[in-house]
Symmetry: C2
Subunit: 405 residues, 2 copies
């Protein structure tokens, strides 16, 4: 059996992460939106670290930072994203990037390192990894806008000096696969007293907008019998979803009505319209199909009520399976560094790995999030867990590369 | 038996109403907010008509237009409000004022006419009638603000030249009672093929704000079992209200959840808070008590769920009973002018009569609203129904005055 013994430099790993936290520091977290000054400064800093590590480093035309190994033979691509949500955590994305860099440094070759741009969606959706796999056209660049202030993506790239810079594209044949580490962003590992999670799949997400149109009227003079109250219709459907979904879902399915609003929303006016967004996630397309079928059945039943109902599918992303051999290799590495303290688990959040998995085998490793907190500046993971995770990650990377070589 | 035969001048009645429609004309309705130029012009025009009718007329310090009969003996006070909702109907309020004027002209004495200010609540709540019965203090005037642009009530009164003008107050002993006519603002008369409604009571309104506090979290990574979803809690309570209220209410009770909103209201975020306003109306305090008890029971049940629940009573207005002898007199008048085409009925909307009823016996008469529409510029009533209503109104007024005299 291939000997995957390896160790990482824990002090260097933590020092790099803490240095990265200074770019856009916000309380104990960071405020580092895509293409902000802090984000670009962090990318330039990372490029210099890649050069130090002996990689050929570049920042491409969408902001991806690429560090290319000079070793011949099949390579592993490894990394995550570098920007943050607004006023959010220091490890979300950054940790996976530095794990990749540390794996490249520890293995001494065969690992390309990447920091994707805009996984957090300030200007689009997975801009960097989609650009890399060829799913972001020039027209797509034209259309990109900052979701808070509507700045055109083209203007942001120009301001960062990235206008006209070539975009790095996937090279078929170079890679045995992609590995990404990330904080869990949930409390499942912590609740079970575990230290590491091997991701089996990244969930698919389906999202529907359901709009009820009734008749806006006086809440005092309109008899109950003749009302067409869009709010009542929406509440009835929402209740039916929460009643019915538990009977058709799988153990880790989640569903959320994050938005529900009445129009005009005044105490003495019967709502003339009501709108809700229903979102559900699962790692299995068959389960997503069952959930969607159930939702559409409930919408059909709602049509028998007094209000008009409109149901639009806003998005349907497919679950992304992580490669079985990568799961096996990561699991063996976890068992080596933390015997019995790991599990296989799906990812309920989206990650660049779901994009990259379209062009090469991919794997993901999770470390615990303290209290399950993420997308908030108080997000954190214990230093020892960060180091432990990197040990498992580098070991798994070495195993995968060894099997390929 | 007292002979209440009387007739009104139909042409004069309709001509006055159509002239009034020119003040703030908007499509086929009017836009005549309280203390707007159109409103003040309409009040001055009305004052001149009162003088022509032989009344001592004045506009008081809150904008009420008063026309005082010079005839000795007990008087009837009669009228309604003159301002409109924004871009609303031409008859809502105005019709009741001109009925009062026409009754005064037809009876030739004993009828005082009033056009109250701000029944529609642009600056407060029933400002004119509350001022009249002594329930609007100087402090209350200080606090008044326009609900759309926050203009202080004092500034609006100054701009209209009403600053420092005395406010007319109720004179105990002068009146046998108050009579008000109004459009129905609902479709009950029309649906039953009736022409006139004798109001038995004006409903009481109770209003509660219910707020759920849960835990805002990631809609992908947070397991269903540990969620504290404030939106789910709100939807469950709203559904329970709509399920349970039909079992405790009376035939004409109404209940409305006009506002329901999730915070922060994003598709991928589990709502951390949700708030709703529950309003219910009935003409019987005992029924309102049952509804409130049921609501509070359901809120208690909701407290057993994972979210914190706060329930605040925002307002409780009591049902206002119309005087039985006035109902009898109006019913006899309806039967005389429209045999079999009238009914007794509660008013689901609020009216100045509910305020004035606190100081003197009061009665109300309804005429049909075409399609039940009100608070919209397309609100209308057939001319012949307007005339018929005024005949019944004047006849009822004469009967009541005759009984008193």
């Amino acid at each position: 059996m291939f000997d995957s013994t390896i160790d990482v430099d824990a002090a260097r790993l933590l020092a790099d992460l803490k240095r990265l936290r200074e770019f856009g520091a916000f309380k104990t977290g960071v405020h580092r939106p895509t293409y902000s000054e802090a984000d670009i400064a962090a990318r330039r800093w990372l490029r210099d670290r890649m050069v130090e590590a002996g990689l050929d480093a570049t920042i491409d035309g969408i902001g991806n930072v690429f560090g290319r190994s000079r070793t011949p033979g099949p390579c592993l691509l490894s990394g995550s994203h570098l920007e943050s949500q607004n006023e959010a955590g220091w490890l979300d994305g950054a940790m996976g990037v530095i794990y990749g860099l540390e794996a490249a440094r520890s293995l001494g070759g065969g690992v390309d390192v990447v920091a994707w741009a805009d996984e957090e969606g300030h200007y689009g959706s997975f801009l960097g990894s989609r650009s890399y796999i060829g799913e972001l056209s020039e027209t797509g660049l034209d259309a990109g806008r900052n979701k808070y202030d509507s700045t055109p993506l083209r203007d942001a790239l120009r301001r960062c000096g990235l206008e006209g810079v070539p975009r790095v594209r996937f090279e078929p044949g170079r890679y045995t696969g992609y590995l990404e580490a990330h904080i869990e962003q949930a409390d499942d590992l912590e609740a079970r007293g575990l230290k590491l999670g091997v991701v089996t799949s990244i969930v698919g997400i389906r999202q529907f907008r359901i709009r009820f149109e009734g008749t806006q009227n006086h809440a005092g003079t309109t008899r109950m019998a003749i009302r067409r109250d869009a709010g009542v219709a929406a509440v009835r459907l929402a209740g039916a979803i929460h009643d019915t979904f538990p009977r058709v879902v799988a153990a880790r399915s989640v569903w959320t009505i994050g938005r529900l609003a009445f129009e005009p929303g005044a105490p003495s006016i019967i709502p003339g319209a009501a709108e809700m967004i229903v979102q559900f996630r699962d790692a299995d397309d068959a389960v997503l199909d069952r959930m969607e079928g159930t939702l559409l059945d409930l919408v059909e039943q709602a049509r028998r009520g007094p209000c008009d109902v409109r149901c639009d599918a806003l998005s349907r992303s497919r679950p992304s399976l992580m490669a079985e051999p990568f799961q096996d290799a990561l699991e063996a590495a976890c068992e080596a560094v933390a015997p019995g303290l790991h599990q296989r688990m799906p990812s309920g959040a989206g990650h660049d790995a779901q994009i990259v998995a379209r062009v090469m085998p991919s794997g993901m490793l999770f470390v615990p999030s303290i209290g399950g907190v993420s997308h908030h500046w108080s997000e954190n993971t214990a230093d020892e867990d960060i180091v432990l995770g990197c040990r498992a990650f580098a070991r798994g990377a070495k195993d995968i590369l060894g099997q390929a070589g």
